[in-house]
Subunit: 332 residues, 2 copies
Amino acid sequence: MRVLIIGGAGMVGGKLARRLAGERVLGGREIESISLVDVVEPAVPPGAANVDTVVCDIADPVAMGELLAARPEVIFDLAAVVSGEAELEFDTGYRVNLDGTRQLLEAVRLAPGEYRPRVVFSSSIAVFGPPFPDVIADDQATTPATSYGTQKAIVELLIADYSRRGFIDGIGVRLPTICVRPGAPNRAASGFFSGIIREPLNGQEAILPVARDVRHWFASPRAAVQFLVHAATIDTEALGPRRSLTMPGVSATVEDEIEALRRVAGDAAVALIHEEPDPMIARLVGGWPRAFDARRATALGFVAETDFDEIVRIYVEDELGGLVPPLAERRT
Amino acid sequence: MRVLIIGGAGMVGGKLARRLAGERVLGGREIESISLVDVVEPAVPPGAANVDTVVCDIADPVAMGELLAARPEVIFDLAAVVSGEAELEFDTGYRVNLDGTRQLLEAVRLAPGEYRPRVVFSSSIAVFGPPFPDVIADDQATTPATSYGTQKAIVELLIADYSRRGFIDGIGVRLPTICVRPGAPNRAASGFFSGIIREPLNGQEAILPVARDVRHWFASPRAAVQFLVHAATIDTEALGPRRSLTMPGVSATVEDEIEALRRVAGDAAVALIHEEPDPMIARLVGGWPRAFDARRATALGFVAETDFDEIVRIYVEDELGGLVPPLAERRT
């Protein structure tokens, strides 16, 4: 089996590549090769054989045709301009997030011979916009509040139509907000959800810009990778015509996050969080979903964490080698 | 005020043009000019001044830019490849129904100077697909079962995003199945809904290919034109972020249709309907919506017929000069 990961330089794409390169099987079939594609050079997992990398623009139809020359049986479509950039750069957002994926779908459709790969598309809960109910069900209308969410919702429609017509065997997974994101703080409005866990666990101060009763929908990077792997291997007949699924997750408040941090790393870690209300961030986050009833995905075997403690522990295991640093000493 | 009707050669577009050319005002403002655009030459309403016609391909960006040179304040976007053709001709459907409207939206966005026209988009209840509830609410997910419905749902998302960004002042109206369509029978799977009324009223035999308990959602051509005119003139602030609305209509069974025909035109008309079950049409129609709770549109002042008798009477008034032909004599 050949696997293509478009967006292989991203955080989730990189973790997916490491898992697949390590396990060397997907859905019980041996993986012959993994191609990582991105606009910047993707990292090859250490010690991985049969992993190659391609740097190209996915909105380029010629490049896309070449990527499919090896007829990958599974294509992970993870490439995206993120929400903030798609909002600032209207053309870039549509070109990459809509036209890029459409090029992929068209290249598959127009490929000579019999070719109907599994296409796993990373969608987002950003396809939903206010006003929405406290708990969002699987048949809620997609009414995005951003250009990014609009582009994701449009691709979901394309994935369903191309699958119905038999051109691809597609599935869209609507990822929760991924938490705890590893790496340096970024300026995304959602960044603090990870920052108030990650920075204290690394002995650094963190800013909390919203009230502690703000509630949102989370899954770990490890769960996100598992969603994608599961989506690549399930029987899509069970999806019926609705090819995109809201993934399960943990509905947690900022207070829940803080208390989970306290249980894992103690009061000294929590003391590193400083409340600095930011009305603009509070207003943005106020328009985000708080909880989902993801019963379709759960029935199909998708599994997330059950509480925020587990999300914190996964960060410690996967990013800190399983060790909570001795915070009181590091502050001195 | 300048008005542009894209799809001006179609049935609804032609009726809209005749109404606007006759009234010469829209939303209390005088209409200076009406441009009718289509891939075939649109008919100029008899006696209309200030109506011009343009034959062009709306998917051509150059042509679209020229259409906007006069800066029409209201643009009706009614052009579409119909459902059956979009299903048979995949490329044509996407090129006209998706790329054509996207060219329009892009041409508006990129037009120099301040320009933010009202764009009224004719969407369709085909954005909904099974499984759905007996009565479909305004927040039901759009999960189309056809490429046509997919293209309409995608354009709804674009209309919302371009409006949110301030590039257009857009509104999408999801038209019910238009009944009674005037003119010759066509081969659309939905054609019999009109045919079993129209043909008997014209003294001709009609085929009924489905069971009498089949239920569907209807509005007259006159109501469709009124929806578009109302959409062109309402305060879109009241829409909030959800720019597309399911239009009100009449939920009626085939039996309701037949009994309405009997009340308007008598037993002789009904006797012209012949039941010839067609399993393929029955299967298609079985996947279509039966009724909607269109409370958002109703609250915003959109009004449809209240029963099927009214729909039949409107056909008689608008297409037969108000006279029900003496059917018994015409059959001899």
